[in-house]
Amino acid sequence: MRLAVASGKGGTGKSMVAANLAFTLSWTEPVTLVDCDVEEPNLHLFFPATAMRTDVTVPVPVIDEAACDHCGKCEDACQYGALTVLQNRILFFSELCHSCGGCTLVCPRGAIHEQPKRIGTLAVSAPRHNLKLISGMLDTGNPHAVPVIKAAKERAATDPLVICDSAPGTSCPVVETLDGCDACILVTESTPFGLHDLQLAIDVADRLGVPAGIVINRSDGKDRKTLEFCTDHDLDVMMTIPFDREIAAIQSRGDLLCRQKPEWQKAFVALFVKCSTLAGVHR
């Protein structure tokens, strides 16, 4: 089963939920935790361990200026404006390139070949028995998060139980993370901002056909507007975590709620059972 943890608004507690869920489940079965927030991964802070690192690369075009006659067909083919053909020079803007391979295909002189360009790394570790952590890390300054997320998820392709911690927001990195998952946990907080962005996230999950359930974090004990919204939209609130200084303190020092207060493991097991139901998986 593949579970995603997303939110909409940033800072609601996705990593907290993903880390504690993985920790709890790893007592009884093999779990793979994938950090898909490749622009700012943080799960390795909760699970420090030595990691095996590999490069993530994407193909980029290299133009043989000697063979090129500056016909401009590659510039026309590029949907992203990454190639500019001047009278006697080609300018290539690699941060605009989406590695589609179109330019290489259309060149009538065969003057373009592809070369791998490193954009990030994958760090794979085994911080606990039954827990595998895959952290995707985009290189600083590189704008293409999606291929790193793809690579991170690929590493977990044959693993039986995978939890993907998503980036905040609702754009390409989140879509890439949610795509292909059996269910999604949306972590929200009881604020107008939280609710607004939760609505956006629900829309994304819906469009992707990924069933979603809610976790309310930093609850004020009432969560009126959030609960109203969930009822109106037939969304199950699968778990509520209170706004509690001690929980925040545990989290802030990179510790796990479920380790410091083992009674919380029951709640996370129950969360997992609800996720399985959501995913239509019988456990």
Binding site: Y80, G81, A82, T84, L86, R89, L91, F93, L96
Partner: protein, 110 residues
């Protein structure tokens, strides 16, 4: 010589547009006789990669100098490679005002 000024409208009285790649209009003036063409920028609402494309419009019109407010990194690279001189105008006035300053050589080369 052809000079391009980024503009918010299609006439010489239009206010200068400070941005290059997403400027609504490119006013291309022939310095010899003062005649001009107002070109509507097809990339004004573009998502990304507009700088080099906008630069290609200037290259296609044989522009030798550009007067604008802010030219992005990618556009700058293309314009420099094409030998187009760049000048900064941020006084908030009209295309005509920018041209006057250019002629009087009071604009800073950027």
């Amino acid at each position: 010589m052809k000079i391009c000024i980024t503009a918010q409208g299609a006439t010489l009285d239009s206010p200068v547009e400070e941005r290059f790649g997403r400027a609504p209009y490119f006013i291309i003036v022939e310095s010899e006789n003062g005649s001009f063409d107002a070109i509507q920028n097809p990339y004004a609402d573009g998502g990304g990669g507009v700088g080099p494309k906008a630069a290609q419009i200037l290259i296609a019109h044989d522009v030798k100098a550009l007067i604008s407010g802010l030219v992005g990194g990618n556009a700058r690279e293309v314009l420099a490679a094409a030998g187009i001189a760049m000048y900064t105008y941020r006084a908030g006035g009209s295309v005509k005002d920018a041209l006057d300053q250019f002629t009087k050589k009071t604009l800073v080369r950027s």
